[in-house]
Symmetry: C2
Subunit: 303 residues, 2 copies
Amino acid sequence: MTVAFERIAIIGLGLIGSSVARVVRKHGLAEHISVCARSPETRQAAMDLGLADTVFSDPEKAVADADFVLLCTPLGTYKKLAKGFASSLKPGAIVSDVGSVKESAIRDIGPFMPEGVAFVPGHPVAGTENSGPYSGFAELFKGRWTILTPPDGTDPKAVEAVTDFWVRSGSMVEIMDAAHHDLVLAITSHLPHLIAYNIVGTADDLETVTESEVIKFAAGGFRDFTRIAASDPVMWRDVFLGNRDAVLEMLGRFNEDLSALQKAIRYKDGDALEALFTRTRYIRREVIEAGQADPDEAPADAD
Amino acid sequence: MTVAFERIAIIGLGLIGSSVARVVRKHGLAEHISVCARSPETRQAAMDLGLADTVFSDPEKAVADADFVLLCTPLGTYKKLAKGFASSLKPGAIVSDVGSVKESAIRDIGPFMPEGVAFVPGHPVAGTENSGPYSGFAELFKGRWTILTPPDGTDPKAVEAVTDFWVRSGSMVEIMDAAHHDLVLAITSHLPHLIAYNIVGTADDLETVTESEVIKFAAGGFRDFTRIAASDPVMWRDVFLGNRDAVLEMLGRFNEDLSALQKAIRYKDGDALEALFTRTRYIRREVIEAGQADPDEAPADAD
């Protein structure tokens, strides 16, 4: 089997970057991996874990000679990075990213890309609440979807090459308009994270219930929210800043529905509650049938 | 090892009732189990699974001769059940329950208990999103907390016997005031369920994002909410009706915090977002350290 790209540059070696490096190693998807990381500890980890052939602190050096450059840093770093390394890119190189917001990625990276370099924005919808180079694993993308949002006029060959890369990494690939991606992810990922961060913050602030009680009795449902609310703070700050409008729109819908639910509880409208709780149940089955959740996952709730 | 009780009557054979029956069998905690279930299918399942020595559709018959009667039905059934079987209880019997709201349980069951019968309200904080007699398992209570909320004047020997029963079922036991229990569970269990039901409902109602997209890209965080929102509709309807005031209080706090978070997103206050997301992260670690979550649970979120 041939490599997907001769030389890959991975910018940022967190959960996603280090999982990509692992999957590239495992399936032999590249001859050479260069890793760019800001901290000496991460660069050392890259060498110790065998995830890099060369390591750099300077993105311009990391991308030189690379056929495929993959940005795996928080969204807020994109503009400065792209501006910095653009002139070092090899003609014919393909640049992509893994960020959770695609319109802002296109806005921050696109304008800096030189003639002859293709930018194919991407987003593997997979992850855990852990971060850093040691948290990655090669199976992270297996059976999950990667969404590509190439702007009009992107070289179809480049889109094909990035699609091939993700498919060989175990992922399924869907092509989507960037604005629509941001709307879909606002409801399936960004709003769930916002809600989880919020409820854990609320619980932490209570005077009537102690923190120790919240922790001891977390098996009642709360613990699932603590997991999501343990996700990387900087990455998620940038997601909410980058996808502001879509998140605010989804949050508006959520709030309307929550007000109706609050009213149903206040006025003891048991029929309305039962109707909603019955309707939501089948969606779980469909998520399991679509292979996006395991029916035997750890218990979630309590009676 | 001696039995905990000679004869146990389990009223309702859903997830919790059938898990109790399994743990009683596994550890030999009783000589005889009588099961009361409304549907012929559940009574047949009780016999097929070897979870009952005798089965009844009539609660009055099921509790006769029982040393320990455990209510495992939705909270909304308590009053009628207690009123119905009270006169059939054996002198010296202990009645308990597994419901998620304790003040309403005391209000609905307490007044009907005859002289010489002790009522020890209980709540094992454990569960899954599955229901019915086939969903139970003997390990459900292992390492989890069971909260007992005996009203003033409850026979201490009865509290001790119920404590012993849950400890021998693998659970840890905490004694708590009923009103405080209801407040603690409002934040650690009831509000998380309400929020999960709500967001799944919101996603289901969108016109801009299709249901198929919500399901395909659920690995971004949404799937954890679908699991919680798959919990038993009737049980949860009764929880929200039964713990109305505490749930509305916690929901009020949650809404205040969410408004502040919404404002931080609208005005691009990245520092406020990062500060909250950093603060919530350590709570996950504490939940794991307390043994109430597994660090290797299925991945929850995506970048």
